[in-house]
Symmetry: C2
Subunit: 619 residues, 2 copies
């Protein structure tokens, strides 16, 4: 089911329409995913009693529809007389079972709902902030006691087990609800609202398979579809609901980011296999990228533009690969007529990149024009020079100041105004590599309504652009020269691409280095990097081409200087910039934003690292 | 103790120096606050094994100092072979007790540290994300079982109970660690890292008093001092460590935001009273504002400028009260020589406000000049008009677009460049009222390095400015005209202050309305507001002047239109702007940033509200 966060009326209509379809198809029951009434990622909206009342009222609407068939759905339960640990009414992420206009009660709590047992508190998840899980509801029970009648539902003609999202990901918990349920039932549902992240679907399939096979149980995994966000991080909820039979075979599968109604013909309680499932409502096929990161970006962005009513888009096209990919992406989603491309040269922009921009725009069939910034930049510099402040000691219009003036002139003066005048948005085209170390200008290229590409390393930006050419267009829509030109901000003579000059980042190295700081489950700091460097294992450890380190860094001092410099930016100015950056579309195992919480001004190295550095540099 | 987040080396030096002082004074032991080795608010830095190793190494340094006296301190314990629920090594927010170079062990866990029992997961706190508390370490124990030997420390000549921060705020938990400890010990320490928020100190004193009196116990509350942040929210840690005797009297108290070493002469275990405490190390007095919100802002900002190495500041001075207060605040902290004030008029800025700005600058003795924006704005508009895009249907340079062009020209073109050229920062001067509904321009007046005033409602901005005049300066440094001029953005003819025109906000009403949406523990939405309006209790409920509603809104339709409009901005564009706003200095019971988590595009009303509205509007 497509769930729209915060839109109860729309979700109720959707639930009601599926109930009708299922009822007409003669189904005995229907199951909806986790938090399908209100949405799941709602920030602190849960702290409002008004909001809880709205949700409660919606439940009563659903109850009325349960005469023809039983209805299972995930939503929020409230225990108004019990306190959560924050002193607010106790709220429970729960599954509800409505049958003949009555709620079915949970065996051990006697509550008219089935509480989630495990609470995720990592990445973007804040369950313990809002919800009381079954473990906290019954704090004096042992795991075994908790599991008695855990999520067991017995109706007249069917019985099954119910678990919710994290209850499936039980590996690191002392209590294992889904294993327990699978051992007690021949049919288990897991209701989820689980965001896409790279390779997560493989792990999920394995978990389902293990539980199904070990217990000879049919497991139905239901995931919602859509986009929800935690403010600074935009998530794609990728569907892929799965019915797995006791042998571990997938007998029916929902599409990737596709809302579908799957049906199974469940024989009876003692049956060892459900008959093959079928699809009652089937929407579209997944796009050209399949179920990959890139496919997730396209799908999430499509949902987002729909929900945020983004109808047209303005892109500053530099001739580099990042804005080129952004232009391709938005023209695929909004249509070329709704994407306006502008190139904003200063005196430092080469003919080469201007030609690339123009060619790409022509290939995409989007509106294109140049709006120059040199006059305005000159005016600003003149105005600064003639101010009284310029006579104060310390006043410096150095190259760094001049570069940032150009970047801000483009975004804040031109893009923001043109976007407003054309009722458009403009995206921030930053990739993850730049975002890690803040190689960007605040209120300049760091601005926009969204960072659709900031969860892709530079090498993945090239990969996705190449895939568009190869698998989608079948031609060089993104010009070859755009793939080969040296990446450069073109903000000074020292970044002249025609002389092969460009960014201070060596992407084949820094992509992987920065990934070790951000995406490893056990995050690396310079302490691990330098240890691996000293041990000669760094290239292997972070997946570099053999020999690269020696090629880039003639000695330990140059290696350490590079490492310290980028780390200091990553934890320093880059974190400051990220706080003011647009939301990031998340597809990796760790994206910037609220998926990657950070404090400002925290170096995160210490005496051990300083000692190791002294040792290595004194050799 | 002043704790610097993420700076282990500095914290170790500080700990060591206090140990020396205490030792020289003949103390038998010394106690430091929660997480004093690494800092507490570190984002996800805890996910790095390297960081854990750095902390562990620091513990060994402290252990070596425990020959002369016993040392209690709060820091992070790691159980490398136990998993946290996120699969990472189990980490525990704990108290350590070092004595004769040995760690004292916890009775029931047998671990060489004393785990925090309760985990806060509200406001800015994310304890469950990172830390395993005692309840999760021993999931199969009842609350009573947990409390056996909870935090009991028995040394050769003294015994005491140890609790950590939230363990004191036990009201809504089933397990009550501090009560339990107070009933078992005559001396209890609570180690905290507790951020300032309005009136929290009163509640804290009451809690301490209750525990002390009920159990006839001496309670020592230790809070660290400094500023820490969670990225989007900057916190002041306000010290105010307190020693309370069994009668509930404060016998010794640390300063407000002041690092002090308090000493008590503890007679013996059976003593019913500690003798009066004394202060070994006393720093400064708290400022002119006392222990208020305003004092917290001054103190936190002072610490922040020190830690972030902010030495000079540039402020865009409009003549309005917000930027005026900002100028006063920074000139107090950095000194008038280090604050540069610029006024940036367009053709819409009145002589009146320009004169106010100049007078204030003169009064403060800061550098002042005007740098106009009209030429640049005209140039931008001309450039937009001559673009090909301007001929597309839908292109509109309406007043709203023109207003934002002015705001961005000031901040992104002038302030950002001048600040960079003078190695300064510039603050965002937004107040909480504007921030709630996004009455600001992104990359315009919404930009800056910090929002020092965004946790004060408009009426509090006036209050603080008036207090500066009355209690600090004893003269009208902030000109009276600045207090009386109508608040206005002066971005169009419709905002002409000389005609009494200004902001669309009626502050005496909207300040209180918005406060009901954000600061109530049970947050209001339009459902509660409209219900109270219909019941005639709104003025009383949200603390309005009697008769104000009828004066502002002739009928229900106008009331609802205003309510819907601002709510829609609050949950819509304002949330989008807050995601890209600078960090907010937090002083209220609820501040924007990570203290107020929000998803984008979540209206948060529903069918109940729509129904109520229909009913009221159809009367």
């Amino acid at each position: 089911m497509r769930v729209k966060a915060g839109n109860i009326a729309s979700n109720l209509r959707q639930i009601s329409s599926y109930i009708k379809i299922a009822s007409q198809a003669g189904c005995q029951g229907i199951v909806f995913p986790e938090m399908c009434v209100s949405g799941y990622f709602l920030g602190d909206r849960w702290e409002s009693g008004d909001w809880l009342a709205e949700i409660h009222a919606a439940h009563n609407e659903i109850l009325k529809m349960s005469r023809q068939l039983w209805i299972v759905f995930g939503s929020l339960a409230v225990m108004p007389n019990q306190r959560n640990e924050d002193g607010r009414p106790q709220k429970i992420n729960a599954a509800f079972v409505a049958h003949n206009e009555k709620w079915i009660c949970h065996e051990s709590t006697k509550c008219p709902f089935f509480p989630k047992v495990l609470s995720p508190n990592y990445r973007v998840f804040d369950d313990s902030r809002h919800f009381t899980d079954l473990r906290k509801m019954m704090p004096h029970q042992t795991a075994d006691e908790l599991c008695v009648g855990l999520g067991s539902v017995k109706l007249a003609d069917v019985s099954f087990g119910l678990s919710i999202c994290e209850d499936l990901w039980e590996e690191n918990y002392t209590c294992k609800p889904t294993q327990m349920l699978a051992s007690q039932h021949k049919l288990v549902f897991n209701l989820s609202c689980s965001p896409y992240s790279d390779a997560k679907d493989l792990k999920r399939l394995q978990l389902l398979k293990d539980s199904a096979q070990q217990n000879q149980t049919t497991i139905c995994y239901l995931n919602s579809v859509g986009t929800q966000n935690v403010g600074k991080t935009v998530l794609g909820i990728d569907g892929q609901s799965t019915i797995m039979d006791p042998s571990g075979e997938v007998i029916c599968e929902g599409g990737f980011f596709d809302e579908e109604l799957l049906m199974i013909d469940w024989n009876n309680e003692t049956s060892t296999a459900a008959s093959a499932g079928s699809v009652l409502v089937k929407k579209s096929e997944s796009g050209a990228f399949g179920r990959s990161k890139f496919g997730a970006i396209e799908n999430t962005l499509r949902f987002l533009c729909e929900e945020w009513r983004v109808k047209s888009c303005l892109i500053g096209l530099s001739g580099g690969i990042d804005s080129a990919l952004s232009a391709v992406l938005f023209s695929r989603i909004l249509g070329p007529n709704c994407v306006n491309l502008i190139n904003m040269p200063s005196k430092f922009n080469s003919k080469l990149t201007q030609e690339i921009a123009q060619t790409l725009a022509l290939n995409l069939n989007c509106h294109y024009e140049q709006i120059g910034i040199q006059n305005a930049v000159d005016f600003t510099i003149q105005q600064l020079k003639s101010s009284k402040l310029s006579q104060l000691p310390g006043f410096q219009l150095n190259s760094w100041v001049m570069e940032n003036i150009q970047a801000r002139d483009r975004s804040s003066r031109i893009l923001a105004s043109v976007a407003a005048a054309t009722q458009s948005v403009f995206p921030c085209n930053a990739n993850k590599t730049e975002t890690t170390v803040g190689y960007s200008t605040l209120y300049g290229d760091q601005s926009g309504f969204l960072c659709p590409l900031a969860d892709l390393w530079k090498f993945e930006i090239y990969e996705m652009a190449q895939l568009y050419n190869d698998a989608v267009f079948g031609s060089e829509i993104v010009p070859k020269s755009c793939m080969t030109v040296v990446p450069s901000a073109e903000l000074s003579e020292l970044q002249d691409v025609t002389k092969g000059l460009g960014d201070p980042l060596h992407y084949p190295y820094h992509d992987k280095l920065f990934r070790s700081w951000t995406e490893r489950w056990d995050r690396w700091t310079p302490l691990s990097v330098l240890s691996a460097y000293a041990a000669g294992t760094l290239e292997k450890d972070i997946d570099l081409t053999s020999g690269l380190i020696a090629k880039l860094f003639p000695n330990a001092a140059s290696f350490v200087a590079d490492l310290d410099g980028w780390w200091s930016l990553y934890t320093g100015m880059a974190a400051v910039k990220r706080m003011q950056a647009p939301p990031v579309l998340s597809v990796s195992r760790r994206s910037f934003g609220w998926d990657h919480r950070e404090a400002l001004g925290i170096q995160g190295t210490g005496p051990l690292y300083e000692e190791l550095k002294r040792k290595i540099l004194s050799v």
